[in-house]
């Protein structure tokens, strides 16, 4: 799980072009939206594409994202349980 969390942080930094942010700057349990990283709705779209592209997880209901993208740890747990690649 720790390896997946680190990989996920790196992918999010790359995909969202978070310059000046290192994996160590993102707390595992900090909120991704609003506070914490301060991501927004366009980032949510980017994360949905990331989930499908890298892990084969297709989120059919965008409302699901609200729960899944709560924090890096919640996201990693969901990926671990549902990934198809």
């Amino acid at each position: 799980m720790e390896e997946l969390i680190l990989q996920l942080k790196q992918e999010i930094i790359n995909v969202l072009n978070l310059e000046d942010v290192a994996p160590g700057d993102i707390a595992d349990d900090a909120p991704l939206f609003g506070e914490g990283l301060g991501l927004d709705s366009i980032d949510a779209l980017e994360l949905i594409v990331l989930m499908e592209k890298l892990y084969g997880i297709k989120l059919k209901d965008p409302a699901q994202g609200r729960e899944i993208f709560k924090s890096i740890r919640v996201m990693a747990t969901y990926i671990h349980a549902n990934r198809t690649k």
């Binding site: 995909v15 969202l16 072009n17 310059e19 942010v21 366009i42 980017e46 594409v49």
Partner: protein, 350 residues
Amino acid sequence: MSKVNDIYILAAKQISVQPPLTDEWMDAPVSYGKPYVRSIDPDYKLYFEPNAARRLGKILKRALVTSRQVTAAIGDAKLDAIVTATGLGCIENTELFLDTLARKGEMEAMLKPTHFMHSTHNTIGSLIAIDVRCHGYNSTYAHKATSFECALTDVFVQLESNRIQTALVGAHDEMTPTHFTMLKRTGYLGHAVNGFSGEVALSMMLATTPKESTLCRLRGVEVEYCPNDEALRQMLNRLLQRAQCSWEEIDNVMVGVSGQQANDQIYAGICPALFPGKKLLRYKHLFGESYTASGLGIYAAAVCLSQQRIPAHLFVDRESGEQRGVKHILLYNQLEGKNHSFILLSACGK
């Protein structure tokens, strides 16, 4: 006939292949011995918070930085309009998602939304409006080599007729490696018989009321498609007549010669007869060729009028020294003998 407004260029800023956001090219122009050159970007960290800049491609960062700098020229006055000229729009982002589709075989649903959202031509004008908080008129002109002249005509008519009092006019184009390769294959750029390709980010603030920092006056714009010699002469006469300026008053004519032999030969065929006795100036040897390069021509002429001098390197004949005291500069651009335009600028108070 009701009185029409005078129009002033209050400020102009560029990011191009010359040092950015300065007029250093007047005294220390940067030369390039290669056919493909990209702009010299300023340190964008000085202008954007990292989180605000992370989605912006270079063309958007350049547009926002130059726009912010010239918007300051109107002080507390309201910005009435934003008019943008771009030949290719946000081509880098367009290429990114098209490449993902075509070359990597990704499905449409897997495309990065940011690249798609920031790929249209009017993304530039829209983002400027959000950034400078302008809810007024917003329009984008994408007509290849006459994009800038069309944008300028729109603003000129609206300012002259008092529909608006201030307007931000921009010329924005980037030259990606892919697009340059395509132009090279067609023989348009990239060979010994061509000039070099550049990129453009130019923002100009126009207004009906002058400020202390005003660069010059914009007296008129004329654009025409495929005029014959007589129609071209009439076009020029019409411009001068409307501006109430005589041919004898024009100091110099700035033309769009670029080193591209085929197009320069058209200038060589037209200029001696159309502009007898006038010394020709150039600007594309500094800024390179691009769809909206003529925006940098008007910028170069405006700086010369503001500083009341024309540096020696701007003269086509390369034998003239620096010229002091300049009142009126006529700009003439044409591409492939089809799209012709005249723009007349005058020093303030002339």
